[in-house]
């Protein structure tokens, strides 16, 4: 089964996944209309800041066993085996934050949502865009990511590609190996930012 896979070395920090995610989970499914909705839709993917000010798209890993699911006393969190996705039932959620305490990745947020009863604050997180998938679409964050920092593919295929990259690096030898990010242009920027960050710091 295809999954969303994160390639952190490719994230350029544009944060386009965030509004795309929020719009995909809005009532209208359209960005321009979504920002006028109430409640304003919020993203389920969150771009964090690395040590060199690079980005990292942080989203639910749909763990198995899932710590959030195990911590959920009212039983609002469940695993949909068919989708291989951990989901939250907003009607059962009691906004107790136990799932957030249990989550190792900090990807569960609490706010009103158009899929929850009006006025109720509930736990919200990535649902693998199952509604989009039912329509034959790929998850919104992947669709909008033009640098392939997020891909939607069979984990086996992704792992094979990575293995092949490592194999090529080994056969080229260390001196000729491709930069990990695979882009001299991005490496130039990140290299500069790394230097800039440490200049003159006490």
């Amino acid at each position: 089964m295809k999954k969303v896979i994160v390639h952190p070395e490719r994230c350029v920090g544009c944060m386009q996944c965030m509004p795309a995610c929020a719009a995909a989970h809005s009532r209208s499914r359209k960005l321009f209309a979504a920002i006028l909705e109430s409640p304003v839709p919020k993203p389920r993917i969150h771009v964090g800041v690395g040590l060199c000010h690079e980005g990292f798209p942080n989203r639910c890993r749909h763990c198995d066993p899932a710590p959030c699911l195990l911590a959920c006393l009212p039983g609002a969190i469940f695993r949909d085996e068919e989708l291989d996705t951990v989901l939250i039932d907003p009607d059962k959620c009691i906004n107790c934050a136990s799932c957030a305490m249990a989550c190792p990745f900090g990807v569960i947020r609490y706010h009103e949502d158009c899929h929850a009863p009006p006025g109720k604050v509930v736990a919200v997180k990535c649902d693998n865009c199952f509604e989009r998938q039912e329509k034959g679409l790929i998850p919104a964050c992947v669709e909008v990511c033009k640098v392939n920092a997020l891909t939607f593919e069979e984990p086996g295929a992704a792992l094979k590609r990575k293995t092949d990259e490592v194999a090529r690096s080994v056969s080229l030898g260390v001196s000729q190996a491709e930069l990990p990010a695979g882009s001299p242009r991005f490496a130039l920027l990140i290299g500069h930012k790394r230097k800039e960050l440490h200049v003159g710091q006490p």
Binding site: G13, V147, S183, K193, E196, P202
Partner: protein, 626 residues
Amino acid sequence: MNDTYAGRTITRDGQLLLEKAEKDRVETVWDRFENQLPQCGYCEMGLSCRICVMGPCRIDPFGEGPQKGVCGADADIIVARNLCRMIAAGAASHSDHGRDLIEVLDEVAKGKASGYRIRDAEKLKRVASEYGISSDGKDDLKIAEQLAYAMQEDFGTRKKALTLLRRAPARRRQVWDKFGIAPRGIDRETAEMMHRTHMGVDNNWQSLLLQALRNALSDGWGGSMIATELSDILFGTPKPAATAVNVGVLKKDQVNIIVHGHNPVVSEMVLLACRSEDLLQLATSKGAAGINLAGVCCTGNELLMRSGVAMAGNHLTTELVLTTGAVDMMIVDYQCIMPSLGTVAACYHTRMVSTSDKARFPGMEHREFHPDNAAEAARALVKEAIENFTNRGEVYIPVEPVNAVGGFSVETILGALGGTPQPLIDALKSGTIRGAVGIVGCNNPRIRQDFGHVTLAKRLIENDILVVDTGCAAVATAKAGFKAADAAQMAGPGLREICSALGIPPVLHMGSCVDNVRILVLASVLANALGTDISDLPIAGAAPEWYSEKAVAIGAYFVASGVYTVLGPMPPVTGSINVVKLLTEGLQDVVGATFSVEPDPEKAALAIRRHIEEKRQGLGLPAQKV
């Protein structure tokens, strides 16, 4: 001291006021910078294009996603177009500032600008003669009227080349002619740059960048140069004068007024009002010991250069200075005025006033200044500032000011040398002074405030390299004490000897950011005296903490004029290795100078010293290994 504050700025006043700001829950530029992280990598690389609405588009730097915009533009074209538009915006800003001064000159000539007058008639005649305007039998106002008209023509379409290009060495002008980058009209080059970057016009990244150089030259040898020359004519050519810098220049017992922005057209009128007897008496009647006018940013530099007015801080200090609670009024014109200032001021009693018909800000009252009402408008504002003195709450002025000397126009420098550049050339030839470097530009929260400027200046003067600086860089080195009367002690033996003999500091304040043209004029004087081109001189430029589009235009006209220029922050160009290579290598074969990018000022100093020694060798002067 909290490490975060020390990591943000090297300045003591900045660190203490950051602490105050946090206590007062005032959000600063550094907080907003952190909130923006991570910043968009497409944009940082210049790979996003918002020029048309078939887009917006972005190019995947990893090579798997889209490699062309909807129109078909590749990374080279998109990066070049974006850089070109930055330069056009920078050139437009400086040049529009210059145009405002022409309008004042014109209205002075027509007797419609009370408060303004010709203060340097000798310079008026000198510049007029460069424009082919004879002074014989004409009064100053007639000359001014004709000069204003001639300068307006420089802005238009009717000329084949800008008048002041003639100040450049003959060999430099030949280079510009050879590559077709001699600017024709100031507005024309900016308009053509915008035209050429429209979808479907110029799609050759090299020819785009050549036009960008021409556009930048229309700023350096056009708009900015006119701004500087007319400011001297209208407000006086700067002469060395004692001043003081940092937030400590604010006075607890006086009415404090701060001017912020760029154009002396407003700040000079405020200065006039602050010195008027009746308003001083009003201040006394309100319990104040006087009226204390200080500047921030470049309009502060304009006043500092001509009248020794104190300077409270540079770009990243503009919010912090308000957190002292000691500012009774801040009067702004345009450029580099953060739209957050009104919000900061709302936490204190400070009144915020905008004055330009083209620059408005949230949380500020708008009181428009025009040449015909400026003197009266300034008096009215100063009166209101005095009345606001009694509304002050707690005042926190955490440091004592640092002494400095400013006011080094080209005229002053040559005057100090006895009217000829020969003593400076002799010192360069003998190696007593190795070379000269212009440190210019802004602050940027990416770089610890003032660290780049101060460290670079320190390393250069230690190695007998004369530093001239402008803008926020000039304020940074002044805060660090490099412009004090006894600062020659910080210089290497050769530079120390010269500076002590002339009684000048080793870092010379040459003015505001439009005044970077003074550096071009000085370089031309040296090149002409040596019978060579600017690109052969042992000189360099640096912008260690730049942030603005204007700074890109300045860097580009420095390089196009033959000055090797080292930038601290990276311009948004890494998305195209072709563009990077052209800027850092290829331009050597075009204009005889290149850009370099080095955020670490220690390494930048080494690169500059190496460059200077290479140029010395090229001129057959004694050179050292660096």
